[in-house]
């Protein structure tokens, strides 16, 4: 067992342990923070696995952006600070399916690789990844950019209910709303 293996086991343990806390904790905010730990540990594993660019992108996008977005969402939905009791649903089917999937996959992979040993390639650089992305994979890359754009537009449309409606429907909504406001004023 080499040092790399020890490092991988340690980081893996941290990732799995924090993931358990993510799905088990009763504090919403803490779940987000445990997710940061888990994703950070994964970034460490990517580094060990000599995927430097992926590791830094992981830190930048996941730990930096996604988790912050999630924490924003937690706050915007006015989640209570502290433990909540209504976060979970009855657990046995979830445990059965989740455990089945996890252990099944693990058994499959263990059966496939046993205790074999693989030489790590030399640490990759961003340049080689870039060659691949802009060479062989440039078409998916462009499609992905379109996907991102449409996701951006979609997110904006979803969060703004007043846009994208037909004028007639808009007036109907206004009528209802002004009725409600009228009621509010009379009250």
């Amino acid at each position: 067992m080499t040092g790399v293996d020890v490092l991988l086991v340690a980081l893996g343990a941290v990732a799995v342990g924090s993931a358990v806390l993510v799905v088990a904790t009763k504090h919403l905010v803490r779940a987000g923070l445990y997710l940061v730990v888990c994703l950070g540990a994964l970034a460490g594993m990517y580094l060990v696995l000599s995927a430097e660019l992926v590791a830094w992108v992981q830190v930048l996008i996941y730990v930096g952006a996604v988790v912050v977005l999630l924490l924003f969402a937690v706050m915007l939905t006015r989640a209570p600070i502290g433990a909540s009791d209504d976060l979970d649903r009855p657990g046995w089917p979830a445990a059965l399916i989740g455990g089945g999937v996890g252990l099944g996959l693990a058994a499959l992979l263990v059966d496939a690789y046993r205790w074999t040993k693989v030489e790590l390639p030399e640490a990759g650089t961003a340049e080689r990844i870039g060659e691949q992305v802009f060479g062989s994979w440039v078409l998916p890359f462009e499609v992905l950019s379109v996907l991102l754009l449409s996701a951006l537009v979609g997110a904006i449309v979803l969060s703004r209910p007043d846009i994208g409606r037909s004028p007639g429907r808009q007036s109907a909504v206004d009528g209802v709303d002004s009725d409600g406001a009228g009621r509010g004023r009379s009250r």
């Binding site: 089917p93 059965l96 399916i97 089945g100 999937v101 099944g104 499959l108």
Partner: protein
Amino acid sequence: MSTTTLLGALLPAVPLVAGLVGLLLPPSPRGAATEQDTARRVAIGLGVAGAAGALALAVALLVSLDGPAEASTTWIDLGGLTVTLGVRLDGSAALVAVAVAAVALAVQVYSTGYLKRGPHDDVDVDHRYPPYAAQISLFTAAMLLVVVSGDLILLLVGWEVMGLCSYLLIAHDRRLPEAPAAAMKAFLVTRVGDVGFLLGIALLGVSAGSFRIADVLAHDHSAGTLTAACLLLLAGVAGKSAQFPLHTWLPDAMAGPTPISALIHAATMVAAGVYAVTRLFPLFEATPVALAVLGVMASVTLLLGALAATAQDDIKRVLAWSTVSQIGYMTGALAVGSPPAALFHLLTHAAFKALLFLAAGAVIHAVGTTLMSRMGGLRHTMPVTFWCTLIGLGALAGVPPLSGFWSKEGVLAAAEGAALHGDGPAPAWVGWLVWLAALVGVAVTAWYATRLLLRTFFGATRTPLAHPHDPPAVLRWPVLALAVPAALLGLAGFPGWFSTQLQRTLPADPEAVSDLMPPDGLIHLTPTVLLPLALLLVGAGLAWAGWRRDAAADPAAALGPLRPVFARAFRLDDVQHTLVVRPTTALGQAARVADERVVDGAVLGTGRAARALGGGLGTLHRAALPRAIAAVLAGALLIGLAAALIGGAA
């Protein structure tokens, strides 16, 4: 096609056209005065013209007919079975046609006065006069079709149209609660017989390969087929001619207007059965079984009708039961093998029964009731009606020299010949049965005829408030006109042109003409004629004596405990109700329940189960997100497991 057969073909066509055109007329407007009612006037014109045209044609036919004539053209050829469109004319057909047309004309004229808005008449009855007149025309046309038809299928068409028209006409008066039920009963009971008639015709037609009457008569049928067919035909005859046990509709049919009763009883419907038998008589002659059944049927009907007539209080019901009884005489004559006697009685009966009904209609019109217990003493206030009724009742009872005496004497002579000398095709015991029943019937008929006369026209009036008077001219003339043949038609039975015409009934097989009657006449006076005369005197004398003892009382009181039994016609209606109506109703209800519960239940249950299943599936599909995703992921896990295990094993 000669002139004669053309006349025969036109005979039913004229009233048919009048009837069909009349059906197109609109109903009279409500509230319009009778004089201003155009539709009514047109309807009257059409009806009278149709009947008069038919009468003229029938007379012309009778005059021009110089022997049996037949003409036909193929109508349908059903693979070996030929249905023809044709006429078959002989003297008896022409005579019956004349009688039918004459009675129809009398009824049409009489109806114009009878169904008129008056103190006793309803607006609604008068309102539907155009269809009424048109239905009478159709009825006449159907009967004439039966009379002249040269094909069994064509005969059946007329036969069925008559059933339909009787249904419509009996139910004409919608004010009476019993009229629709009576119409329904008439239709259903005759329908039962018609099924037999249809089967009998089919049997004969298939056996002979043609439905033409001449072919059917000429074909040599096997004995079994012939017996079965004749018995089936007898069922239809019993239904139409109101013979026991299918006679129950006739008294109830009195719910119809009185002119309709006259039409049904005198000329059309009930005569059709007897006439149909005379048409096919060679077949019956060859089957003693059918003749025996006919004889028993006739005897039972004869006595049953006569006895039931003794206890009725409704004047129309007395006449109705007397019709049943008189038709029994005709079928009795047929049973002992003498169609000429039967037809002779049919013709005289048509005259005097139409007369009696129309006169009774005049009485009802004047008094406003049909119950004899509320009449009486009408002799002075309605002399014309009284004398006409006297003639009719005398003919009915068989008082010489009125027509009924001669024709009934012919029947009695035929039965006597069959009983004592074994004449004719029927067994001797049938002859005895018919003869004795006919003799008893003479006495009973005399009794109830006398009773009717005494209760209605003699004694003190029992409705002092009414002011009865002789009917207006339009009602009086048909009655007077019918009184002439009712009185004198019997004399035509003496040897001469008339009797020659009547005896020419069997042109297909001249050898088989019954030699019961001497060829020179329908009437032969022998000492045995004294026997029915004596019985007549006994019957009439008994009734008169009873009335003499207590003029206010009903002579029927002498019947004692038998009176309610007779009044309800031996409770045969109840028997019919118990044996037929109630099981049928129960069966219908069971079928309905089975239809609703089992058939509908299966269909509805299938639908309901499908909806419930769909609802259940829909509920499953509408599961909340977590359950849905759990199901999806569990499915994925299971597929993965299966793939791993099977892939690993393989």
